[in-house]
C-alpha cells in the first residue's frame, strides 16, 4: 500500500486518462439507453460523479507523492495543477448531480450531455496541466466546444439556444485572439513552451522585438480574458449564464473559470513573470475595471441568475488581483479562492435551481420571504451569499479566500510596483457587492411572502445533497481552514523572476521543468 509507483510513463496524465476513458464509456452506455428512459440522466450523472471521484483519487495519489510520474514535456506535475484539478473535479461532480435532477425534472432523457461534461472536464484538466501554449490552445478548445453544446442542451428553450450561439460565436472569436497571441509570442521568443519562453524573455533582452512580444502577451490576455469573463471581454457572460440550464451555468461558473484561470496564471506568472513590468499595468487595470464593472452592474439586476453572472465577473476581478501579484503566494491564493468560489457559486446556482426557474421566472421578487416557506434553503443561500461577499464565520471559507487574495495583493510585486492601491480597491469593490448579496438575504429573511408567489416545491434529493455539501464545506473550512490552507500552500506556482541587473530565471524544480528545459528545442519544434 505504501509503495510508490515511479517511472510509470502515463502517470502524469492519469487523471486526464481516467476522465477521457470515462467520457467514452459514458458515451457508449448512453447510446444503449432508450430515448424515453428519463432515469438515464440520473444514471449518467452518477457516472460523472464516479469518474470524477476516480480522477480525484488519482490526483490525490499524485499530489501526495504516492505515484511519482515520469516527466512528460509540456505537462506540469506541480502542486498548482493538482490543486486546480481537484477544484475542477469537485465542481464538475456537483454540477452533474444538479444536472441529473434538472434533466429528470424537465422529463428529458439526455445521458449524452454527461459525456459532454466529462469531455469538457478533460479539456479543463489539460488546461491545468499545460505548460505549452499549444496545449493551452488545445485545452481551451476541448473544454469550450462541449460547453457550447451544453449551454444549448435544453432544446425546447429559445433562450438556451440563443445562449449557446452567443457563447459559440464569442468563444470562437476569443480563441482566434489566443491563437494569434501564441503565434506572436512564438515569433518573439521562438518557443511555445512556458519555460523556454521564460528563458527567452529573461535571457536575451536586446534580441527580442519588444512590440511583437507585447502584442503577443496582449492578445493572449484578451483570449483568456474572454474565457474568465473579465471586463471588457465579459459581454457574453450574463446572457449565456442566464440562458443556459442552471446546472450548466454552475458548471461554467466554476469549472471553466477555474481552468481558464489556471492557464492564465501559468502563462503570465510562470512564462512571463520576468516581463512583469510589461503586462502588469494592463492586467492591473483589467482587474480593477472587472471588479468594479461586475459589482456595479450586478447591483442593477432584477434576475438572480444575471446577478450571479455579474457577480462571477466581479470574482474574476478578485482572482485577477491574485495573478497581478505575480507571486507564489498569489497562485496559492488563486487556488484557495477558486475552491471557495466553486462551493459558493455552485451552491448558489443549486438554490436557484431548487426554486424552480422558468426562463423568466428567476425574478428577484420570487425570493421574498423564502425563509418563511423554505427556511433551510434560505439559510443555505445566505451562507453562499455571505461567502461570495467574503464575510467571516457565516460566510465561512469565503472570508479566508478574500484574506488570502488581500495577502497576495499587499505583497509587493517588484520594488517599483506597489500594490496597496489595488488592495484598497478590492476592499471597496467588496463593499459594493454587499449591496446585492444582502439584497437577496434581506428579501429572503426580512420580507413577507408575496401573496401571488408561486409555491416552492421541495428540492429534489440530489439538489439538496449538493446544497448541503457546499454549505457544510464552506462553514467547516470557515472555522478551521488549516487543511485547505495547507493544500493551497503546496499548490503554489514558481514565478519566473529576474534578479537585479543580471537577468536569470529562477530554476523551476519539478522534474518536468528540468526536462522541458533540456528538450526545449524539440518542444519548439511542435509548432510548425
Amino acid at each position: 500500500m505504501n509503495g510508490t509507483l515511479t517511472g510509470f510513463s502515463t502517470a502524469a496524465l492519469l487523471p486526464d486518462l481516467v476522465v477521457g476513458v470515462g467520457a467514452l464509456l459514458l458515451l457508449l452506455w448512453s447510446a444503449a439507453r432508450r430515448d424515453d428512459d428519463i432515469d438515464a440522466s440520473r444514471g449518467a450523472a452518477l457516472g460523472v460523479v464516479g469518474v470524477c471521484a476516480a480522477a480525484l483519487v488519482a490526483v490525490v495519489l499524485l499530489a501526495t507523492g504516492r505515484v511519482v510520474p515520469a516527466p512528460v514535456p509540456g505537462i506540469a506535475t506541480d502542486g498548482f495543477r493538482w490543486g486546480i484539478d481537484a477544484v475542477i473535479l469537485v465542481g464538475a461532480a456537483l454540477s452533474a448531480l444538479l444536472a441529473g435532477d434538472d434533466a429528470r425534472g424537465r422529463g428529458m432523457a439526455q445521458p449524452e450531455a454527461f459525456a459532454l461534461v466529462l469531455l469538457s472536464v478533460s479539456g479543463m484538466l489539460l488546461l491545468a496541466a499545460a505548460r505549452d501554449l499549444i496545449l493551452v490552445f488545445l485545452g481551451i478548445e476541448l473544454m469550450s466546444i462541449p460547453v457550447y453544446v451544453l449551454a444549448g442542451i435544453n432544446r425546447r428553450s429559445a433562450r438556451s439556444a440563443e445562449a449557446a450561439l452567443k457563447y459559440f460565436l464569442l468563444g470562437a472569436f476569443s480563441t482566434a485572439f489566443l491563437l494569434y497571441g501564441v503565434a506572436l509570442i512564438y515569433g518573439a521568443t521562438g518557443a511555445t513552451d512556458v519555460d523556454a519562453i521564460a528563458q527567452a524573455v529573461a535571457g536575451a533582452p536586446g534580441a527580442l522585438p519588444p512590440v511583437v512580444l507585447w502584442l503577443g502577451i496582449g492578445a493572449v490576455m484578451v483570449g483568456l480574458g474572454f474565457k474568465v469573463g473579465a471586463v471588457p471581454f465579459h459581454m457574453w457572460t450574463p446572457d449565456v449564464y442566464e440562458g443556459a440550464p442552471t446546472p450548466y451555468t454552475a458548471f461554467m461558473a466554476a469549472g471553466v473559470k477555474a481552468a481558464a484561470f489556471a492557464a492564465f496564471a501559468r502563462v503570465l506568472v510562470e512564462g512571463m513573470g520576468g516581463e512583469v513590468e510589461r503586462w502588469h499595468p494592463m492586467l492591473w487595470w483589467i482587474a480593477v475595471v472587472t471588479m468594479f464593472g461586475g459589482n456595479l452592474v450586478a447591483l442593477t439586476q432584477r434576475s438572480v441568475k444575471r446577478m450571479l453572472a455579474y457577480s462571477s465577473i466581479a470574482h474574476a476581478g478578485y482572482l485577477l488581483v491574485a495573478i497581478v501579484s505575480n507571486s507564489a503566494l498569489g497562485s496559492s491564493a488563486l487556488v484557495f479562492y477558486l475552491a471557495a468560489y466553486t462551493f459558493a457559486t455552485v451552491g448558489a446556482f443549486a438554490v436557484v435551481q431548487a426554486l424552480g426557474g422558468t426562463p423568466e421566472g428567476d425574478a428577484i421578487e420570487r425570493w421574498n420571504g423564502l425563509f418563511r416557506v423554505r427556511p433551510q434553503l434560505a439559510v443555505a443561500m445566505a451562507v453562499f451569499m455571505l461567502a461570495l461577499l467574503g464575510f467571516p464565520i457565516a460566510g465561512g471559507m469565503g472570508f479566508f479566500a478574500k484574506w488570502y487574495v488581500l495577502q497576495a495583493a499587499l505583497a509587493p510585486v517588484a520594488p517599483q510596483l506597489p500594490q496597496s492601491r489595488i488592495a484598497i480597491l478590492l476592499v471597496l469593490a467588496s463593499v459594493i457587492s454587499a449591496g446585492y448579496y444582502l439584497n437577496i438575504v434581506a428579501r429572503m429573511f426580512m420580507r413577507g411572502r408575496d401573496a401571488d408567489a408561486p409555491p416552492v416545491a421541495p428540492a429534489p434529493a440530489w439538489t439538496r445533497v449538493v446544497i448541503g455539501t457546499c454549505a457544510v464545506v464552506l462553514l467547516v473550512l470557515g472555522v478551521y481552514p488549516t487543511p485547505a490552507v495547507q493544500a493551497a500552500q503546496s499548490a503554489a506556482l514558481r514565478p519566473a523572476m529576474r534578479t537585479r541587473g543580471n537577468r536569470t530565471v529562477s530554476a523551476p524544480s519539478t522534474a518536468v521543468s528540468h526536462l522541458a528545459r533540456g528538450i526545449r528545442d524539440s518542444s519548439v519544434a511542435v509548432l510548425p
Binding site: I393, Q407, V431, A442
Partner: protein, 554 residues
C-alpha cells in the same frame, strides 16, 4: 477562600473558551428545542409568529426566551467565576488559553483577560441577561431565531474582549455584525430592513478597511503571527510613520464606525430605533472603543501621538459630544433620545482615549461601562413603554409619575445616572475623563464640559415630559391616546428585577468604583507606556521613511 476553591477546579484554564462556546451551545439548543417541528413546511409561516391560537403562540415565545435567559445567567455565573479568580494586582494577561489554529499563517486561538477585558466581559455577561429579563415581552416575531442570534451575538462580543490574536479578534468582530443584522432585520420594527442594511454596509466598509490593515500589519511584522503583544513589538520598528498612519486610519475607520463616532454615527439611531430592546441594549456595549484602547493605540503609537491626527480626532469627538447632546434634546422619541445621548457619551470616551493619560483612559473605560448600564436601562424603560402602548414618543405620555410610580422612580434614577450626577456611575467616568484630558487639552476639555450641562437639559426635559407634565388632552389624530396611557400597568416582577439590578449597578459604580478602577489601573498604565515609548519625533520619522519612486500604476 472562594478564590482558592475556584482556582482548585482549574477554572482559569477553561473559563474563557467556556465563555465563548457556552452561548453558541445555548443557541443551538434554542433552535433545536424551540422551533416547532415544521414538517408542514409549506404552512410554516405561522410557526413562531403570532397568528391564531393564543396558547401555541405563548409557548413558542416562552420556550426560547426562558432557555436563552437560563443560558445567559449561566454565562454571567461563569463571568463571576472569572472575576473571582482574577488577580487584581497583576497587569498581565490572565486565564490564558492557547490553541493552534492556522499554523501556515501563525494564527492561534489565543485568549486572555487583563483588567480592561475583564471589566468589559463582566459588563456584557451581566447586562445581557438583565436586558432579556427587562424586555420579556418585546420580541414577538420569530423568537426562536431572535434569541439564538442574541446568544451568538454574546459569543461575538465576548470574543472581541478576550481575543489576543488579531485574526481571531477580527472573526469575533464580524460575528457581532451578522446576528445583529438579522436580529434587527427579522424581529425589528418600522424600517427594519433599511436600518439593518445600513448598519451592515457601513460596518462592513469599516471592517474591510481594518482587514486590509491587519493583513498589511501582519506582513510588516514579519508574517509570524497575530499575537497582539508580539505584533506590537515587531511592528514598532518595521513601519515608517506614514505606513503607521495609514494602517491606523484603517483600524480607526472600523472602530469609529462600530462605536458610532460622530460623524459616522447615523446608522446607530436608525438601528436602535428598529431593534428589539435587548438588541438595542447590546448595541450599547462599545466594542469599537475597546478596540481603540486595545489595538489602535499600542499598535500605532506614532500615529496616535501625531499632533494633527490627535487634535482632529479629539476635536471631532468634542464636536460629537455637543452635537449628540443638542440633537438628543430635540428628539420626540425616547429611543432616539437615548441613541443620540449615546453618540454624545461616545465623544467623552474618545476624548478620554486620545487624551492618553492614565486617568482619562480609566475614565473612558468607566464611561463605556456606565454608558452600557445607564443607556441600556434607558432602552429597557423605553421598551417597557412600548410594550404597553406601542410607542415611545415622548409627547404621547405625561404625568406617569402618578399612574406608574415605580416606573417613575426607576426612570429618575436612570436619567440621573445618564446625566452624570455625583453618586451615580455616570459621574465618576466623565469626571476622570475631564480631569485627565484637561492636562493635555484644556480648551477642548472645557468645551466638552458643556456637554455635561446639555445632558442635564435633554434628560431632565424628557423626565419632565414623560413623568411630571400633566397628561395631554387626547389629540385628534390619536383619539385613544389618553385612554391608552391610563390603562398602562406598572412594572411587573421581571421588569422590577431588571431595573433593580440596573439601580444596584448605578449606585455601586457611583459610590465605590475602586474595585473596578483597581483592576484597570495596571493595564491602563501599560498601554500609556507602550504608546509613549513608541513615539517617533517627526523629523526622525521623515528621515526614516524610504523615499519611493513614483509607481508605474496610478
Amino acid at each position: 477562600m472562594m478564590r482558592d476553591l475556584l482556582a482548585g477546579t482549574g477554572l482559569s484554564a477553561w473559563v474563557l473558551p467556556a465563555l465563548l462556546t457556552w452561548p453558541v451551545v445555548g443557541a443551538a439548543l434554542v433552535l433545536l428545542l424551540a422551533v416547532p417541528r415544521a414538517d408542514d413546511a409549506d404552512g410554516a409561516d405561522g410557526a413562531d409568529v403570532i397568528s391564531g391560537g393564543r396558547d401555541t403562540t405563548a409557548d413558542t415565545i416562552r420556550t426560547p426566551r426562558v432557555l436563552a435567559t437560563a443560558v445567559l445567567i449561566g454565562e454571567a455565573v461563569l463571568a463571576l467565576g472569572l472575576w473571582t479568580i482574577f488577580d487584581p494586582t497583576a497587569a498581565t494577561w490572565q486565564a490564558r488559553f492557547d490553541l493552534p489554529w492556522i499554523p501556515a499563517w501563525g494564527a492561534r486561538i489565543s485568549l486572555g483577560v487583563d483588567g480592561l477585558s475583564l471589566v468589559m466581559v463582566m459588563l456584557t455577561a451581566l447586562l445581557m441577561p438583565v436586558a432579556v429579563i427587562g424586555s420579556w415581552r418585546s420580541v414577538r416575531e420569530r423568537p426562536a431565531s431572535y434569541y439564538a442570534l442574541l446568544l451568538a451575538l454574546t459569543t461575538g462580543i465576548m470574543g472581541v474582549f478576550v481575543a489576543r490574536d488579531l485574526l481571531f479578534f477580527y472573526l469575533c468582530w464580524e460575528l457581532v455584525l451578522i446576528p445583529m443584522y438579522f436580529m434587527i432585520g427579522i424581529s425589528g420594527t418600522g424600517e427594519r430592513s433599511a436600518a439593518s442594511l445600513q448598519y451592515f454596509i457601513v460596518a462592513t466598509l469599516g471592517s474591510l478597511l481594518m482587514l486590509a490593515a491587519i493583513v498589511a500589519l501582519w506582513s510588516a511584522a514579519g508574517q509570524h503571527g497575530f499575537d497582539i503583544d508580539q505584533t506590537i513589538a515587531a511592528a514598532r520598528g518595521a513601519m515608517s510613520f506614514s505606513e503607521q498612519r495609514w494602517l491606523f486610519l484603517g483600524f480607526f475607520a472600523a472602530l469609529a464606525i462600530k462605536s458610532a463616532y460622530f460623524p459616522l454615527h447615523s446608522w446607530l439611531p436608525a438601528a436602535q430605533r428598529s431593534a428589539p430592546t435587548s438588541a438595542a441594549v447590546a448595541l450599547g456595549i462599545k466594542v469599537g472603543t475597546y478596540g481603540m484602547i486595545r489595538f489602535a493605540l499600542p499598535l500605532f503609537p506614532a500615529a496616535a501621538l501625531d499632533p494633527t491626527l490627535r487634535i482632529t480626532i479629539i476635536g471631532v469627538a468634542v464636536a460629537g459630544i455637543l452635537y449628540g447632546a443638542l440633537v438628543a434634546s430635540v428628539q420626540p422619541d425616547l429611543r432616539r433620545l437615548a441613541s443620540y445621548a449615546s453618540v454624545s457619551h461616545l465623544g467623552f470616551v474618545v476624548l478620554g482615549i486620545f487624551a492618553l493619560t492614565a486617568e482619562s483612559l480609566q475614565g473612558a473605560m468607566l464611561v463605556m461601562l456606565s454608558h452600557g448600564i445607564s443607556l441600556g436601562a434607558l432602552f429597557v424603560l423605553a421598551g417597557i413603554l412600548e410594550d404597553r402602548t406601542g410607542t415611545s414618543a415622548l409627547d404621547r405620555f405625561g404625568g406617569l409619575a402618578r399612574t406608574l410610580p415605580v416606573f417613575a422612580v426607576a426612570m429618575v434614577v436612570v436619567a440621573l445616572s445618564a446625566l452624570g450626577l455625583p453618586g451615580t456611575n455616570g459621574f465618576v467616568g466623565e469626571f476622570l475623563v475631564l480631569l485627565g484630558a484637561f492636562r493635555n487639552f484644556p480648551g477642548l476639555t472645557l468645551i466638552a464640559t458643556v456637554g455635561v450641562i446639555l445632558a442635564a437639559v435633554y434628560l431632565l426635559g424628557a423626565l419632565q415630559r414623560v413623568l411630571f407634565t400633566a397628561r395631554r388632552e387626547p389629540s385628534a389624530e390619536v383619539p385613544d391616546g389618553e385612554s391608552r396611557t391610563m390603562r398602562v400597568a406598572d412594572l411587573d416582577a421581571r421588569e422590577l428585577t431588571a431595573l433593580a439590578a440596573f439601580t444596584v449597578a448605578i449606585v455601586w459604580l457611583g459610590v465605590a468604583p475602586a474595585p473596578v478602577l483597581r483592576r484597570m489601573e495596571g493595564p491602563v498604565r501599560r498601554i500609556v507606556d507602550q504608546v509613549q515609548s513608541g513615539a517617533m519625533p517627526r523629523a526622525v520619522t521623515a528621515a526614516l521613511a524610504p523615499s519611493r519612486p513614483r509607481p508605474l500604476v496610478p
